[in-house]
Amino acid sequence: MEDMSTMEDVASFRLRARAWLAENMPRIDPDAAARPPGDDDEEWTKARELQQKLHSGGFAGICFPVAYGGLGLTPAHQEAFTEESLPYQMPLLLNVPTFSICAPTILDMGTEEQKTSRIGAAIRGEEILCQFLSEPSGGSDLAGLITRADRDGDTWVLNGAKTWSTSAYAADWALCLARTDWDAPKHRGLTMFLMPTKAPGVTMNRIRQVNGSTEFCEEFFDDVVLPASAVVGEVNDGWRVASRQLFHERTAVGGGSPYVSGRGDRIASTPASDPLEIARVTGRAGDPAVRERIGAYLTTQKVQEQLVERVSRGIQGGQLPPPAASFMRLLHAEADWERNDIAVQIAGALATTGTGGAVVGVNYLMRQGASLGGGSTEMSRNIISERVLGMPREFAADRDIPFGQVKRARG
C-alpha cells in the first residue's frame, strides 16, 4: 500500500472514477440478449479490451501494489470504484480466477520476476490466468494428485492430466500443481508451477456439461518442459501455495476479495428455474398442491439467507467455530436441489418438451451441481461432524506414508 500521507482520498478518487467511467466505458445495454453457454469467445476478447481501457485510464489493479503494476490503494477505493462502475460494462470475466485467486496467490508466494511479469500483464489486460488443480483420478482428495514433474537438468518435465479448470481455454498461464517427490507423504511432495497454457505438449479440451456449458476444461500433459524459474514458492512446498489459492477462492466466493473490480455474474449462464414463474406460465398457480410446493420453496430460500446471516455473524463473533461455514455450503446445496425438484414437479408433463420454459428440464439435469462444485457435500459433512461436533476423523490409508506406496487405481 502507498504511503498514507500521499494517497488520494476515497472521495476524490470516486469523483475522478465517476467522470472517467462516464467518458470512457460503454454503458450496459439492459436489453442485450443473454448468450447461450459455451459460445463466449467474443466475451473474452471484449473483457481483455475493457481491462486494457481500465489500465490506460489508470483504474486497473486498484489494490495491487504499485511495484507490480497496480495502484496500491485500499479496499475502500476499490469498493468506491465498483459502486461507480455498476452502470458500465466491466471485464467481470477476469475477476475469477485471474484477479481474485491466481494473482493474489502469485503475490503471496511468487518470485519477483513472476509477480512483475504475470500480475503486471494481467492488470494490463494482456494475460489471463487459470488453475490446473483437480485431476481425473481424484475429486475430493486434491492432495492425492498424480501428475508428475521430474527434474531434468535445469528443467522440469511434466506428465499427467488435469480437469475442471474454469475457463482455461481463455487463459494464457496456469498455476499447476504436480508431484515432485514420491517418497514424501502426499502433502509434502507437491510443487506449484506457472505453466503457459499453450506450451508444447499441452492438449486442452473443453468439457461439455449436460446443460450445454463448456466453461470447464481438461488438459493432458505429454513431456511439457518448464524452466526452473517456473516454480512458485519452494520445491515440495506446493501444498502451501495451493492452500493460499484455496483461501483466496473462499474469500472470493464469500464476496470478500479486494481484488475484484465491478460486480455481477462472471458468465451469463442459464438462469435458475423460478418455481413461481413456472406455476404462472403453466397455468397451475391455482392448484393447492402446487401452492404448497411453492411455499416450501419460498421457505427454504428464506431460511438459507437467514442461516448465512446467522452463521457469518456467529463465526465473526466467536459463538460458532470457523468450520461452521460448512452449514452454509450444505444448506445451499439442499436449497438448490429443492428448487430444481419443485420446478420439475410444477412443470409436470410440460417439462418433457419445454412448453412453458425449457430451462426446467435442462436445469434439472444439473441438479447435483450444487452439491459437487466447490467441494462435495460429503466433504462438508465430514468437516461438520469432525470439526464442529468433534467426532473421530475418517481413517486415511495414505497418512504419513511415502506417496509412492499409497494404493491407487491403476490404468
Partner: protein, 375 residues
C-alpha cells in the same frame, strides 16, 4: 437461541433454567401422565414472579421486559420450557395477553384482567379451535348474538390449552360485523369444560362448551372485525411455539450426540461411523437453520416489521417439519430404547408434534406463503 444476549438476558435465562430444573426435572414431567392437571397454580404464580407473564405488557398495565424487546425476552423462557418439556400455560396466557394489550385502546377496558394475568393470579387461554376443525381462526362457527345487556355465546371450542385450570377464555366468535373476541370467565353460567386425551404429557387440552352463555358488553375485546388483533395473537403464539420447539430439539440433539460418543458397537464408538456422522452433520445444519429462522421471526414480530407474517410462516413451515424430523432421526440413532416409555425421547417428540400441529401446520403456512407472495 439468539447468538448475542445481554448480561440481563443471560441472567434471566439462568434464573428461568434453574427454576425449571429444580421444579420440573424430566422425571417429574414424566409423572404428570398420572395426574389430572399439568401444573400447580402456585407454581405458575412463581413463574409469573420471574417475569414470565410481564414481557408483552407495557409498564402502565403492570408489565415490563428485561431488554425493552419483550418478545425476545419471552422467547428465552419458551426455549427453556422446550429444553425441559415443562408444563405451564406460557404460550396460552401470553397469547391472550398479546391480544388484550393490542385491543386495549379500541374497546372495553380489560386492565384488571391484564393485571391479574401478569401477577399469575389468573390464567387465560385462547379458545379458537373448534371440534373437528383445522387452523381457521377467521371462520368460527361459535356465534355471538347481541342482547340488550351484551352478548349471548353459543357453540363449542376444543383443543383449549390448560382449560382445566384457566380462569378466563378469550373466545373467537362470529358476529354480524365479523369475527369478535370475548373475554369470558370460566365460572360463567353455561360454560362447561371437559378434558381431552392429549398427546403431550405436560400440556393438557380441553373441550369448552358455551351453551347460551350470557356475557356483558364489557366482555368484548377490541371491536368486531379487528383481524389485526387475531393476527397479532397468532404471530405471538407461533414464534413462542417455534422458540420452544428449538429449545427441545436442541436438547435432544445434545444428548443424542453424547450417546453417539458413549455407545460402542463392534469395538468402536457409534460416532466413528461415517454413515452416522453424516446424518449428524445434516441434523446439526438443520438445527442451526431452525434457530436462524426462529430468531429472524422473533425480531420481525418484535419490531412490527411489514414482513413479520411472511417470516413467521417461513419459521413455522421450516421448524415444524425439521424439528420432528431431527427428533425421529435421534430415535433411530438410539435404537430400540428410543421407542420405550422409559427413555425421555418421547417427551420431546410429543411436544414437538403438538407444536407442529397447532396454529397452522407447516403445510398451512406454505400455502399462506404462496398467498403472501402474490401468486
Amino acid at each position: 437461541m439468539e447468538l448475542e444476549l445481554s448480561a440481563e438476558q443471560r441472567l434471566f435465562r439462568t434464573t428461568t433454567k434453574s427454576f425449571l430444573e429444580k421444579e420440573f426435572p424430566l422425571e417429574r414431567v414424566r409423572g404428570l401422565a398420572e395426574r389430572d392437571t399439568g401444573f400447580d397454580r402456585e407454581w405458575w404464580a412463581r413463574g409469573a414472579e420471574l417475569g414470565w407473564t410481564a414481557m408483552l405488557v407495557p409498564e402502565e398495565l403492570g408489565g415490563g421486559s428485561i431488554s425493552g424487546a419483550g418478545l425476545r425476552d419471552l422467547a428465552i423462557v419458551a426455549e427453556e420450557l422446550g429444553r425441559g418439556v415443562a408444563p405451564g400455560p406460557l404460550l396460552a396466557t401470553n397469547t391472550v395477553l398479546a391480544g388484550l394489550v393490542a385491543a386495549q385502546q379500541a374497546g372495553p377496558d380489560h386492565a384488571a384482567a391484564i393485571e391479574d394475568l401478569v401477577a399469575g393470579q389468573r390464567i387465560a387461554s385462547w379458545a379458537v379451535y373448534e371440534p373437528g376443525g383445522q387452523w381457521d381462526p377467521r371462520h368460527p362457527a361459535l356465534i355471538a348474538k347481541a342482547t340488550p345487556g351484551g352478548y349471548r355465546l353459543h357453540g363449542v371450542k376444543d383443543r383449549v390449552e390448560a382449560a382445566g385450570q384457566a380462569d378466563l377464555f378469550l373466545v373467537t366468535a362470529a358476529t354480524g360485523d365479523g369475527v369478535a373476541q370475548f373475554l369470558v370467565p370460566a365460572a360463567t353460567a353455561g360454560v362447561v369444560v371437559e378434558p381431552q386425551w392429549s398427546l403431550d404429557l405436560a400440556r393438557r387440552f380441553h373441550v369448552v362448551r358455551f351453551d347460551d352463555v350470557e356475557v356483558p358488553a364489557s366482555a368484548l375485546v377490541g371491536s368486531a372485525g379487528a383481524d389485526e388483533v387475531l393476527e397479532r395473537q397468532a404471530l405471538v403464539a407461533l414464534v413462542l411455539q417455534c422458540a420452544e420447539t428449538c429449545g427441545g430439539v436442541e436438547r435432544v440433539f445434545e444428548f443424542t450426540t453424547q450417546w453417539l460418543f458413549d455407545r460402542f458397537s463392534f469395538g468402536r464408538p457409534l460416532a466413528s461411523y461415517q454413515a452416522l456422522k453424516h446424518r449428524f452433520a445434516d441434523m446439526r445444519t438443520w438445527l442451526e437453520a431452525c434457530q436462524a429462522t426462529t430468531q429472524a421471526a422473533i425480531t420481525a414480530v418484535q419490531d412490527g416489521a411489514a414482513d413479520a407474517p411472511e417470516l413467521v410462516s417461513v419459521a413455522k413451515s421450516y421448524v415444524g417439519d425439521r424439528a420432528v424430523q431431527i427428533i425421529q432421526d435421534c430415535v433411530q440413532m438410539h435404537g430400540g430404547i428410543g421407542v420405550t416409555w422409559e427413555h425421555d425421547l418421547h417427551l420431546f417428540l410429543r411436544r414437538a408434534t403438538v407444536n407442529r400441529s397447532l396454529y397452522g401446520t407447516p403445510e398451512d403456512h406454505r400455502r399462506r406463503l404462496a398467498d403472501l407472495a402474490g401468486l
